[in-house]
């Protein structure tokens, strides 16, 4: 399946992170929170106003804004 932006993933879909920005303190922190190339994630929901996003990663729930999610490319694996 082709890679798409994390911000464009359908809610409830599981995906694997394919590309992840190398620069920027936000992305280093996201890595430290366990999000990096090869990690499996599920998009749980977006907030009522569409931003931020909530994802499940390594068994816990994490939020991030669309402005970061746009730079993360994922590949959908299966419907949850």
């Amino acid at each position: 399946m082709p890679a798409l932006k994390l911000s464009e993933l359908t809610i409830g879909v599981q995906a694997i992170v394919r590309e992840f920005p190398k620069q920027g303190s936000a992305f280093l922190r996201l890595r430290e929170m366990g999000l990096m190339p090869g990690t499996t994630i599920t998009l749980i929901r977006t907030a009522p106003l569409g931003d931020p996003l909530e994802i499940k990663v390594r068994g816990y729930n994490l939020t991030l804004r669309k402005s970061e999610a746009e730079h993360i490319l994922v590949e959908a694996t299966a419907k949850a």
Binding site: A26, L28, R29, M33, M36, Y60, T63
Partner: protein, 702 residues
């Protein structure tokens, strides 16, 4: 038991550090071990809470425990994390370097929790692991082989359910061990980075005087340290070390090596490998209770409804439950004042005690019930996990002015009282966001403004002429003005004074948990005490000064209180203020009221009562309103025209007139600079807005 009961520390009390991610149950465990033997303060120079407690080993030897702030990583991004890093590395002169480290993990979320542990094991100090929330892990279908983990790492691992009191005895036992093995902690530093780490470690040892074991850890930290937070206690690097670091960075940049990223990845590789051997995932257990609650609570429609319902409940309980104790405090302070009046001869001492100390301190202590209830709710929201959901829902709106969702609850609390709101800003990681929130919080109309609004609305719209809707509309207008003003200033500050990194919203949504009332009670008492201790001295001092200003110099014998006040320093200050406030329609009498309001805004009502020689109370302002209606300028124009009442209300919306808030802001920002700035910008805004409104109104013929 034949265990060695001699302490390896001799007669010295060993120091243990409690370390862990936020939401891992660290505080519950700390409270369970230390009980009431806790000391809470601040680390000097930063507003990070310092908590030290005492407990006993199984053999009766005293043990000191430092409860370090919760953190996800040693690569500090917030002052909290910087303090954690510096204490563990022994960089802070004000805190002893811990002899042993107790790492607390949420067993249901092992991988991410192990990241911090992985960094800490680098430090080469004795570590005990506590797997907390084992029950929740089991419920989530995870089976953790504790013995296997112990064997893999070579250090004690204690399974635990702190919330149910399970595992505490075992932890105390582990902490009492005379010898603790060091961890088997071999992990592969990525090949392109490894030579740099050894070179940096050697230079750190040689030039910066670091111990051999921690030099490697420091070198690793240097590579991921985002250097955004330099807290007092971290020394700058030796030039030779930073030169080595820079040359490596250059080389990596040329090669396209992502040094920080690959370090993080290799740690997670090691963790994933470890977890694959110790965690067994039983059959999928379906959506958890938390997932189901979140489906409602963060739903596009029900999410808003539940947020509104919870906040309504919060405010209803503040106003319902605070009333009785507030009246009680009122009664008690006036009883005390009467008792002093009866037992102390009339004179300056009596007046100082009753009109200065008791009136001033009592006027502030009166708000303590509200403050306590707010602390209770904030604690409740935090410990159940709803706080993070509220931030999640509100983030989009808050981002419009450059803040993030975490500012929402502190700002909302400020509608009742800015003090707990400002104290709740500690959950905001970003320092500039936090400061912005502190600066705008007092613009939210707090409950001390309510009596002033009520008095002025009643004076502006006398009962018989106007419908109740006009009054409600005016009240809403005042709240709206404060709110829009606050967001406007947030927008301005985030673009100018406190411009920072693009705001983030990287936040964990922890599973919902039942609140632990014991922990919330601890938290409440701690906060209230902090407020009384810190604000108390300032309040006492300012109360005495304000009393002195209104009691001296003495008027002739037999003068009425109004005459005394007029010719006192305060009265003269009111007169001196008149040229400044005349353009916004206020005379010297109102000026005295503004000065008096510095104790707390509601004091305006009683000060006006003295100025106009009437007995005024919050409950019965009729005589005062009559006196105000009759008040005139020397040339016979009425003083309190509808326009002046409106302008005065607007002044109260914007002006900074609360010494307790200033004392708390000083404490939370560690300097008088910010409270001073706040006073100037808020009061300045008040004057400018009032000037525009008053002059426009005059021009239009009001």
């Amino acid at each position: 038991m034949s265990a060695d009961t001699r302490s390896p520390f001799g007669s010295r009390t060993p120091v243990y550090a409690f370390v862990g991610n936020p939401n891992c149950g660290k505080s519950t465990l700390f409270n369970a071990l230390t009980g009431l033997k806790q000391k809470v303060g601040n680390y000097p120079g930063v507003t990070v809470e310092k908590k030290i407690g005492e407990t006993y080993s199984q053999h009766g030897h005293p043990i000191k425990i430092i409860d370090l702030p919760g953190a996800y990583s040693l690569a500090a991004r917030s002052p909290d994390e910087a303090v954690l890093r510096d204490v563990l590395l022994g960089r802070r002169a004000d805190t002893p370097q811990p002899d042993r480290i107790v790492c607390i993990l949420d067993a249901s979320n092992l991988e991410r929790n192990l990241y911090l542990v992985h960094q800490i094991l680098d430090l080469g100090r004795p570590v005990i692991l506590v797997l907390n929330m084992m029950d929740l892990a089991a419920k989530a279908g995870l089976e953790i082989r504790v013995a296997r983990l112990e064997k893999e790492l070579g250090i004690p691992v204690v399974p635990c359910e702190a919330a149910n009191g399970k595992g505490i005895v075992e932890l105390r036992l582990a902490m009492s061990r005379a010898d603790l093995p060091l961890a088997k902690h071999a992990w592969e530093i990525p090949i392109p980075i490894a030579p740099a780490v050894s070179e940096l470690a050697a230079s750190l040892q040689e030039n910066d005087g670091k111990a051999p074991l921690s030099a490697r850890a420091e070198a690793l930290l240097l590579l991921t340290d985002q250097d955004t937070v330099r807290v007092m206690g971290s020394k700058p690097l030796h030039p030779r070390t930073s030169e080595i670091f820079r040359s490596w960075q250059k080389r990596w940049e040329g090669e396209g090596t992502d040094w920080a990223g690959s370090l993080v990845s290799s740690r997670y590789d090691a963790i994933t490998h470890l977890c694959s051997r110790i965690v067994e995932r039983k059959a999928n257990v379906g959506p958890s209770v938390s997932d189901r609650i979140d489906q409602v609570v963060t739903h596009p429609l029900y999410g808003w409804l539940s947020l509104t319902a919870i906040m309504t409940l919060l405010f209803l309980s503040i106003f319902t439950f605070a009333e009785a104790p507030m009246n009680l405090i009122d009664d008690q302070t006036s009883a005390l004042a009467n008792w002093i009046k009866a037992s102390v001869a009339a004179g300056d001492l009596r007046s100082l005690l009753t009109d200065g100390v008791i009136a001033g301190v009592g006027g502030v202590v009166k708000f303590l019930p509200q403050i306590l209830i707010l602390f209770f709710f904030v604690g409740l929201l935090e410990s159940t996990g709803y706080m993070a959901r509220a931030a999640f829902i509100m983030d989009r709106l808050m981002s419009r002015v450059g803040l993030n969702g975490r500012s929402f609850i502190p700002l909302l609390s400020s509608y009742a009282c800015a003090i707990p709101g400002i104290m709740a800003t500690r959950t905001i990681e970003d320092q500039k966001d936090r400061l912005t929130t502190i600066l705008i919080a007092p613009l939210m109309s707090c409950s001390a403004r309510l009596p002033v609004y009520l008095l002025l609305i009643a004076a502006l719209l006398p009962n018989d002429h106007f419908s109740v809707w006009g009054k409600v509309g005016l009240m809403i207008l005042m709240y709206a003005l404060g709110t829009f003003g606050a967001f406007g200033f947030a927008w301005l500050f985030k673009r100018t004074l406190l411009k920072g990194e693009p705001p983030l919203m990287i936040m964990e949504l922890p599973p919902y948990r039942l609140p632990r009332l014991r922990d919330i009670a601890f938290h409440m008492v701690e906060r209230a005490w902090m407020f009384l201790k810190n604000a108390g001295t300032v309040i006492l001092a300012i109360s005495i000064v304000l009393w002195f200003l209104s009691a001296y110099p003495k008027a002739h014998d037999g003068a009425t209180p109004a005459q005394q006040l007029e010719q006192s320093f305060a009265g003269r200050a009111g007169h001196a203020l008149e040229p400044v406030i005349k353009p916004i329609g206020f005379d010297w009498e109102i000026g005295i009221g503004l000065i008096g309001s510095f104790v707390a805004r509601e004091v305006f009502v009683s000060t006006m009562g003295v100025v106009f020689n009437t007995e005024a109370s919050d409950d019965n302002t009729v005589p005062l309103r009559k006196a105000m209606a009759n008040a005139k300028w020397p040339d016979g124009r009425p003083l309190f025209t509808p326009l002046v009442c409106l302008t005065l209300m607007i002044f109260y919306v914007f002006a900074m007139q609360c010494m307790s808030t200033l004392a708390v802001v000083k404490r939370e920002t560690n300097s008088w600079r910010w409270p001073l700035f706040q006073t100037v910008y808020m009061t300045g805004t008040a004057w400018v807005v009032c000037f525009i409104v008053y002059q426009t109104g005059r021009t239009l013929g009001f």
